[in-house]
Each structure stands twice: as C-alpha cells, then as structure tokens.
C-alpha cells in the first residue's frame, strides 16, 4: 500500500508490551497512510484498545518501532508526548467523555486549550464554526447533561477536530448510540475526516461498522498469553 516511510502517518513494527502476568501485546506490523481511514477491528480483549493507547502514547511499548506523523514517539519525553498528543491527535470515545461542568462550546474550547496549534484569539470562532458544522449551532451553551447522546457525540467529534489534528483516534464511537443515530454520527465523522484531510483510526468490534471504512486491520490475537 505504501512505499515510502515518510508517507506513513502511523507505523508499528515489532511492537511489544507486557499487559500483565502471562499476557502480552505484540504487533508485527501496522501502518496507516496520511488521510487514510482504517478500522481496527476485533473481538473484545483482542488488544485493539491497547494498540490505540500505544499509538496515542498513553502506553509506552517495551520494544519495537512506533512512529506517528514521522516522529518516533517512543523517544519523546512524557511532557513532549503530552504536547505532541494535544497538537497532532484528536480523540472520540464511546462514552463521549465530555466534561460535565462545561457547556458544549467550552468543551470544544478545551480541545484547543492544551496545545499551541490554534492562536488563542481564534479559539472561539473556530469552536463555534466546528459546532455549527456538526449541526449544534443552537446548543452552544448547553451542558452535556442536557444534550442527547447523539448531540454529545457530535460535540466530541467537534472537539476532536477543532485543533486541526493530523490523526483522529475513535474508540467505539457509535457503541453507545442507537442504530439510526450511530449511522448519522458515522457519516458525519467520515465526512469531516475527509473534509479536514485527517487520518482516522477507528476501533470497533462491529464488523458492519468496520466495513464502512476503506481500510480494515484485524486485531485478533494482538493480545495473547505468553508461549509456555
């Protein structure tokens, strides 16, 4: 699929990580091209969330090569990794993970608060534009508790994209939604990633969702028991 290393947005080679007594994660090779949309599919416990945590730097590998957007993230210090994550990555979670004390607009603003990607004077206009784009122009000042689950996930998508990230990692983004809402949220996510030219890694155990994406990586067996 790819011939040049610098054309790789995400690259894992011979990555291992001990997960607990007698269990380890091992990924021989995975890569995703810039602007690609890849589903990380597999049953529960197969290691797909571990893979996501390794890619986002929330977990450090024990060995192997792990490059994101050209950077060897295993060589980054924790604080540099925090900054790298804030600047280059956006997150969409299954349970939305909006912060309850903040309204929709403030939650999206928080997406820019911890990185230097967008100048501060543009924060508000950018956040409002993103919320308009996901169809929430009338819910800017609504707290998460007053939003429907579909609206919450739209806010989460706006927050993930507001910072102009290079990579979106979405962990079961439709897992808490009814089929109709799930379909519309998936369509929105894919549409926005296309528009913003962002690489998408989407973790799902749902084969149907996974097959909506152009690329699919089968995570089955990434987390396994040690060979005796």
């Amino acid at each position: 699929m790819l011939n040049r290393k610098d054309a790789v947005m995400v690259l894992l080679e011979e990555v291992t990580r001990r997960l607990g007594p007698g269990v380890h994660f091992s990924c021989e090779k995975f890569y995703a091209a810039p602007g690609s949309r890849t589903a990380l599919w597999g049953p529960s416990g197969c290691g797909k969330s571990t893979m996501l945590n390794l890619i986002t730097g929330l977990l450090r590998p024990d060995s192997g090569t792990l490059r994101i957007d050209g950077a060897d993230i295993t060589a980054l210090s924790e604080s540099r990794m925090d900054a790298f994550r804030g600047e280059r990555m956006g997150f969409v979670f299954q349970t939305f993970n909006l912060l309850p004390p903040f309204n929709a607009l403030q939650n999206v603003l928080l997406g820019m608060r911890f990185s230097d990607t967008i100048p501060e004077q543009e924060w508000k206009s950018r956040a409002v534009a993103m919320l308009n784009r996901v169809g929430l122009e009338r819910r800017l000042h609504s707290k998460p508790g007053t939003l429907s689950v579909g609206e919450r996930q739209r806010v989460a998508i706006a927050r993930a994209l507001v910072n102009k990230p290079r990579l979106i990692v979405a962990d079961e983004p439709t897992g808490s939604l009814d089929p109709k809402t799930a379909a519309s949220v998936m369509a929105l996510l894919l549409e926005l990633c296309e528009e913003e030219k962002v690489t998408l890694l989407l973790v799902t155990h749902d084969r149907g969702i996974a097959e909506q994406l152009p690329d699919l990586f089968d995570c089955t067996g990434l987390a396994r028991e040690d060979a005796s």
Binding site: N53, T56, L58, R85, N97, L110, F114
Partner: protein, 428 residues
C-alpha cells in the same frame, strides 16, 4: 480558557460541598480576624489609659498594683503616703500636672475616688474622659460625680444621696459611713475608660470621712474626740478646702511631666531619694498585657488556627474525594494534551480558590462580629470595637491560612498528577 477558570468551574459544579468547605475555612478566619482586631483595640485602649499619666507615685510596694489601683481602679492600693510628698511632687520643675488620689471607700463595689477638682479638666491627648453628661463637677466636700457605668448600674441621678462603705469591695459586713452621705452633682459621659466605674469627689471628702472614722475609733478607745461632724448636722463642709493638709495622706499622685522623655529619670529620682515609689503606667500595663492578655490572645488565636487546620483537612478530604470522582475528566484532559503539571496546577488552584473565598467570607464574618460586639460594648461599657483593618498581624494570619489551604491541596493534586491516564480511560 485558563486553569483558573477550569478550576473555578469544577468548584461551581459541586456548589454545596464547596460552600460548606468555604464556610469551615471562614469560621476559623472569622475567629482569627475578630480576635486580632479586639486584641489590637484592647491593647490600644489599655495603652491609651496608661499614656494619660507619665508617672504614678504611691507608697512602696508592687508598681503594677499601684498602677492598676490608681489608673485603672482595679486592684487594692499599695498604701498611703504623706500629702507633703504630693505637694513636693507638684512643685517639681518637670511636673506640669499633678493630681492627688485618695481611696478607701466604695459604693456598691464602685470606688469613691477623692481627688482635686482640676482632674476633671484634664484632657490627655485627644481624649476628654471627664466630660459631663449632666449636672456639674464637684465643688465642695461630699459632692460626687459618677462615672457613666456607676450611674447606670446604681440608678443614682443628679440630686441623689448615697452613703459609702469602708473598703473597696462590696460586702454586707462593710462599715457604712452613714454620717457622711454624698450628694450626686454630676454624671460623666460614657468614655469606655476606667472612669466609667468610678465615683469622683473632692479629696477632702475622703479625708473627712476617714478622720471621723479615726476620730470615732479614737473616741471609742480613749475618748479623745474634739471634732465630730456627725453630731453637728449644720456642719458646713465648705470649709474643707480651708483645711490644713498637714498630717493628711493620699493614696497616690498622678503626674504629667513636661516631656515623656523625663519619665525614667523622674522615676529613678523618686525611687532612690524618697520613701515613695514611682511607676510608669504604660510600662507596667504593657508588661501585664504580655503576661495576661497575651496568653489569652494566644489561646484564642490557637483555637482560630485549629479551626483553620480542621478546615484545611476538609479542603483536603473534599478535593481528594473530588479527584477520585474526576479521574475520568482528568484522563480526558491528559488525552487532550494537558500535562501532568497543568493537572497538578488546576487542583492546587481549586484549593487556592476555596481558601481565598474562605478568607473573604471569614473577613466578612469577623467584621460582622465586630459590628455586633461594637453595638453591644459601646452601649454597655463604652468600648468601641473598630472595623477590621489590615494590620501586619492580620496579613500574616491570612498568609498562614492560604499556605495551609495550599498544603491541603498538595495531596489531592499529587493524586491527580500521578494518575494513570490509559488505565483511567480504559475504566471509563
């Protein structure tokens, strides 16, 4: 969106818990504010009284006792000294004012203070502690001017007649001077000074009463009595000022010098070259203040700081529990790019907000306490409690409270700092 506003929104999100924590800090701070303000004002008032006279001279004994008994009307006098001593003091070149004090009797526990009429015109500094609320000053023997508290508690009015009893404390066994009644001719304004608790009269009144006592006693013993006023109802006390003072005694002399700088030299002169004892009221009272009120202040301050320490503990517990409940939010912030330092800072800022708001609320509570106390004490004893103003002591106390609040925030902040983001996100 700053860390300050993030911290504020989390506090606002749990209003009740935050309000209760702030209240607990406020209670301690309010107590500290009120205690420090009251202490400052008490000390100022005590010292103001002490500054009114540069020197007090009396018979030898304990200098503090001399000051307390003659300036504050609080203790038993050290004894008497010859009136001649007072006269020599009065004529001293460094002395601008000298007032005799003679005590020995009381009315319902309030001292009858014999002095000179000039004392009533004495106005130390900017104060006029002898201004009249009604009536006039005494002009002859057996006329009395009441302090405001005496008038209020005794019910005596201008024109009332009363009889003193021997001794300075109220007792049913005290000998009553029925043959020498006093007539109230004036009542002083409430001044918040010891004068409120005193009955002033011409010194001749005290001499007359006690010369009769002595005479009566003499009569009882050896029948050598030749001047019994009691048996002469028409006896005119106007002659009092014409009395020869030879052989008379005074309890003390209140002295104002030409300059406060002369106090030590004057005191040394008296103490070395006479049978009398001189004391500097302000020095004695400062010593007493440190020994007695200083300890009371420390106890009250300790209670205040204890309340603040308990409040700090409630800040710690409140924040710690909040951090446990907010592991999800903290992990999300980390995922959004927040550093561990920023997470630590946000929690410390929450502790800071609670502490600062607690101080503000405590200051308000302290001010309210002072207003209520002021209303009560001004009408009761003329003691004015000022509004809280920033003194060095108060700034130090508030700084200590802020420090305690921040220390209380460290453990929860550390808990947030070292949280495992991947695990916390996985547990969502």
């Amino acid at each position: 969106m700053s860390l300050w506003s993030i911290a504020w929104r989390y506090l606002w999100n749990r209003k009740l818990t935050t309000a209760l924590t702030i209240l607990s800090v406020a209670l301690g701070v309010g107590m500290i504010s009120a205690v420090l303000t009251l202490r400052e004002e008490t000390q100022r008032r005590f010292e103001e009284e002490g500054q009114a006279f540069d020197i007090v001279v009396g018979s030898k004994g304990n200098p503090l006792q001399l000051v307390l008994s003659t300036v504050y009307f609080m203790d038993a006098p050290t004894g008497n000294m010859d009136y001649a001593v007072f006269e020599s003091l009065k004529s001293h070149e460094d002395v601008t004012h000298a007032f005799p004090i003679a005590m020995g009797d009381s009315y319902k526990g309030y001292r009858i203070v014999g002095t000179s009429r000039e004392l009533m015109d004495f106005a130390p500094g900017a104060r006029s502690p002898y201004t009249l609320a009604e009536g006039r000053y005494f002009e002859k023997a057996q006329e009395a001017v009441l302090g405001a508290q005496v008038a209020r508690d005794s019910g005596l009015k201008v024109g009332s007649v009363f009889v003193g009893t021997h001794g300075l404390v109220q007792s049913s066994f005290a000998e009553s001077h029925d043959d020498h009644p006093y007539t109230v001719v004036g009542i002083l304004n409430l001044s918040g000074s010891p004068n409120d608790r005193a009955i002033f009269c011409d010194i001749q009144s005290v001499w007359d009463v006690h010369s009769h006592c002595d005479a009566d006693h003499d009569h009882d013993s050896d029948s050598d009595h030749d001047h019994d006023h009691a048996e002469d109802p028409d006896h005119d006390h106007d002659h009092a000022h014409d009395h020869d003072h030879e052989g008379q005694e005074v309890t003390a002399a209140l002295i104002k010098l030409a300059s406060p700088a002369l106090r030590f030299e004057f005191k040394d002169q008296i103490n070395k070259h006479s049978n009398a004892m001189a004391a500097i009221p302000i020095m004695e009272i400062q010593k007493l203040y440190e020994q007695l009120l200083g300890t009371a202040k420390l106890v009250l301050l300790a209670i205040g700081y204890l309340v603040v320490a308990i409040s700090s503990l409630s800040i710690l517990i409140g924040l710690y529990m909040a951090i446990l409940q907010r592991r999800r939010d903290l992990a999300i912030m980390r995922a959004l790019g927040a550093t561990r330092g920023e997470i630590f800072g946000a929690v410390i800022i929450e502790a800071f907000w609670v502490t600062v708001l607690g101080i503000a609320a405590g200051w308000f509570m302290g001010a309210l306490t002072c207003v209520v106390l002021n209303h009560f004490l001004v009408t009761r004893i003329g003691f004015h409690v000022p509004a809280i103003h920033m003194t060095a002591d108060l700034v130090s106390a508030y700084s200590a409270v802020v420090l305690m609040g921040l220390i209380a925030g460290i453990l929860p902040a550390w808990q947030a700092y070292r949280s495992d983001v991947a695990r916390d996100l996985a547990e969502l």
